[in-house]
Symmetry: C3
Subunit: 404 residues, 3 copies
């Protein structure tokens, strides 16, 4: 099923001018919305280009709690992943041959936000829809639920449960012909925050990586606090007994006393462990001269893994969420570059970890996630991490990084 609307535009984007082809899926301001499911673009539309076969397609889910959810499926010829336009442009899963990035959440449906009540169950309603490989938490607030300034802040904020108001698919007309899925997610409340998150999830045909390049804009004429967590979640086959986390750590501390007791072994993982619950570690990373850093999770044998490269300038903190609980209840670990730690915003503020955006100000976040398919790839990233670390020693604290 081919889509009939076809706009080929030359766009100026950021600082570089790249000719691009573009199709609009949704544009609420123009009341534009592509109804048909099916192929949006594929390599067949660009037959003269020497790339692998790839495609981008749209699917609408029907029935149950999924009813009306729109997915943008990307198959770059090597990786397959799905962007959930209706759930804040989260990414559901990434498949690369036998390796999957993502996890087997006990929440099986891709739940439409209309069925989510973030305020439910003491502000934990977010957990009723949580099953993505990557969900952004934020942006007026993220982290633990609780009162701040007389208002209940719900777990991990609203942005992951807001449908994107503008969605488009863009293909660069220059090599490497990057494929970009874009969506604007608006988190706006008169007098209480006017945020626009311009998300982009992109990939190069045939590559093993996807990139998140998100621009957060404060549309208010007032300076505003914001928080964002890139909540990236991995289960099997990478996570397993003996799997290892590596990073160029500058500082590490436990989120609570329960995490403190196992801080000496925080880098390795248990198999599914009943009553484990979760242990969370709070980290700061060393970075290269551009502020970029790299972290990695690899399986026990070091034969597969995932690398995350991100910008510590906009994402100076990192949480390692170890949730190696039972298989069925959710065996998963989160590698989470963020603006702060997952305490409630009131705690984060008093710790000086809540950044602000000036009136009309903006900040860009970069996160690149690569699938590591073999021992060489894992070893290469290991080297990269060691290069960033150099001979700097991690500063270890056994006290949670929160004010008394």
């Amino acid at each position: 099923m081919r889509v009939l609307i076809c706009l080929a535009l030359s766009l100026t984007c950021c600082c570089i001018s790249v000719a691009q082809s573009k199709k609009i899926i949704t544009n609420t301001y123009e009341n534009q919305h592509m109804k048909q499911d099916g192929i949006i673009y594929s390599s067949k539309d660009f037959a003269d280009r020497k790339t692998v076969d790839w495609s981008v397609s749209k699917q609408t889910l029907h029935g149950g709690m999924q009813d009306g959810v729109e997915l943008i499926h990307v198959d770059n010829g090597k990786l397959k992943f799905s962007v959930i336009a209706t759930r804040g442009m989260s990414v559901y899963k990434v498949d690369c041959g036998d390796i999957t990035l993502g996890w087997n959440s006990p929440v099986k449906q891709i739940v439409h936000p209309k069925f989510i009540d973030l305020n439910d169950h003491g502000g934990l309603g977010w957990l009723a829809g949580f099953n993505e490989m990557m969900v952004r938490c934020g942006v007026a607030f993220a982290g633990h639920p609780g009162e701040d300034d007389g208002k209940m802040l719900t777990l991990h904020g609203r942005i992951g449960n807001i449908p994107a108001s503008n969605v488009s698919v863009v293909v660069d007309d220059q090599p490497p012909y990057r494929i970009r899925v874009r969506g604007k997610v608006e988190e706006k409340m008169f007098k209480f925050g006017l945020f626009e998150l311009w998300t982009e999830v992109s990939t190069v045909p045939g590559s093993n990586a996807i990139q998140f390049t998100d621009r957060l804009v404060n549309k208010s004429e007032y300076e505003k606090e914001y928080q964002i967590i890139y909540h990236a979640n991995y289960g099997r086959p990478i996570l397993e007994k003996g799997a290892t986390f590596s990073a160029p750590v500058k500082k590490i501390s436990p989120l609570d006393d329960y995490a403190a007791k196992d801080i000496s072994t925080y880098q390795t993982y248990l198999g599914p462990t009943k009553n484990y619950g979760e242990q969370v570690y709070c980290l700061e990373m060393n970075a290269d001269k551009d502020g970029m850093t790299t972290v990695m999770l690899n399986n026990a044998a070091g034969k597969n893994g995932v690398a995350m490269k991100y910008n510590t300038k906009s994402l100076p903190y990192f949480a390692l969420w170890k949730n190696t609980d039972t298989e069925t209840d959710g065996y998963v670990t989160g590698l989470e570059p963020a603006t702060g730690y997952p305490f409630n915003r009131s705690v984060e503020r008093s710790a000086g970890r809540v950044p602000k955006l000036k009136p009309g100000g903006e900040v860009t976040f970069h996160v690149e996630i690569s699938v590591l398919e073999n021992a060489q790839a894992v070893a290469a990233v290991k080297k990269q991490i060691e290069r960033i670390q150099g001979d700097k020693k991690p500063e270890v604290s056994t006290t949670p990084p929160r004010p008394k």
Copy 2:
């Protein structure tokens, strides 16, 4: 309008193997969803079978707060009823000639869950959609709103406002050719409950009864508390001044002091009574050797009524909700087999009335509701109840069954 998808399968169901015909309305995991409204099955599809004329059809509601609600209408040739797939597989009303099971709720629309906020108005939001003949309350919690373990539990839980994720219609290929409407309702929240309620509402062509056979599964590897109330609600023509409730009562106590003062007349009903509000009685029933018991509501003249037969092993408690308030505000009584009483879960737990499901465990609930069309039918059920009661005397307490 005939549906084109037609799957005839042989299924093994429970312990017995019965050849069945089956059509899938919704299967979220396969993103399968029957869009068209109209007949799903009817006796014409099985012309060789000697049954009354019957049909099962699908209708989607449009506009207002009903927009998007899906109903499965069953006409078994004698009874007509509607299963609300979008509202937890509740049953709206049962019509049998001049007799209706159900009530005239002041809430007229069949409200889509997307317009219900269970946490509204002190956790009473459930009441904005309450108009069914049968709505299940539960399953992580049911009963009165209030805090339990630091979390707000909303009135009667979530299950009645969750759209079924898998819906199918099944027709037995063996006499008596039972018609089964099945739906799986998932109440899942990462770390806070992984319940699947596999519901079945069924009826035999030409019969005067519908059966609820529901299987609740704990998908967690942890033992979990659960609660369920079969909130069956009846108004006119059965409920009227002088209508009578009968049951083989083992124990009875009032829910509160207001109910206590009228406990001696709890079996009979007033006509619509302004400022009556509601009186609730808490009962345990005697049962036959299989644990089955029967209760009945009949009209003043004993010429029509409704019988409910249910399994006291999985539903050991029963609430009689007498809400003979004004006609307009809702003249109704609830006959409610349940796992406990309608106090908040915190109260029920301390009274030892909150059952648990083992990891992966399940429990099945059976409730059969029959329309009694004449004095003979009423008298026959009366006898049945007396047989179960035998010479056992009800134990009457005037104190609410809650710990101090």
Copy 3:
């Protein structure tokens, strides 16, 4: 695209009998719903009538937080406005040549109620959808969020976020051939309020005015409190530095101390002013012998404006909401005839400002809004206001009108 369903009916409406043409957009009780967008009626359907060209059309919005919102667009030949059927029959904006009634809210999407959680952020969720020219607040409660009788009342109540269950377009068959958009909005909760608000937004072809004629019915057999605020909001081009509010004021007081300090200049407006926030004044108006009164907002030069004429018998109070904050965050003023002031209902009750409807009782609200296109029109309304005021002096209080 012409709509095929065409019902021409003679209806008896209220006390007067007027032949009318009518088309039904939505009737939930009959599961009737007009799916197609496009022209519903236009002057072409009544070619024999000597009116300007006019039309009424329906549009469904798609994508983002607008998905599924239904608008009824009215172009009376002079004025254009949109009734938001899905958001309680609010009116989005009124355009009349260069003059717009309405405001430039930072909330840009017309948000579907399924994406609004009124209980969010301390009961302020209403603000995530606030961008209308006219939104009714109410009806069980309106005003500030907060607990009343143990229940959380959310800001400005529910009625503005309930989809109308019955929507129709009616055209009078007698001059002046008034066009009427009608919608019934049901705010019902078993045991906690059974309100039906029968709204009508109407206009005469070629005229500069729209009329709100709403009938609120208490369907309960119990007397019930109600509250309503006609929250009419204006920004540019009428609101600007030096714009003026005029009214035949009987009494005025500030909502709080911050408003008290500027009460002497409450009638004039500042330009966009950072950190201004909002100042609110509480007024009672003088009225003519029928209880009708008129208030006006006009621009600095007195060359354009808006007049509001309303019935003080059913709307005895009035709030002037001055929100001349920054352009981007929302530069707006609200002229708000109401049953009380915008304090929480608990405060209003103790001040004796919460009216009640008897069992089955009803009350009708009239508000007419006219665009003033030139200095003469402004001057004429000014005269009208002075005539009502006569030589009565406003009674000024510098104390907020709330009990200690």
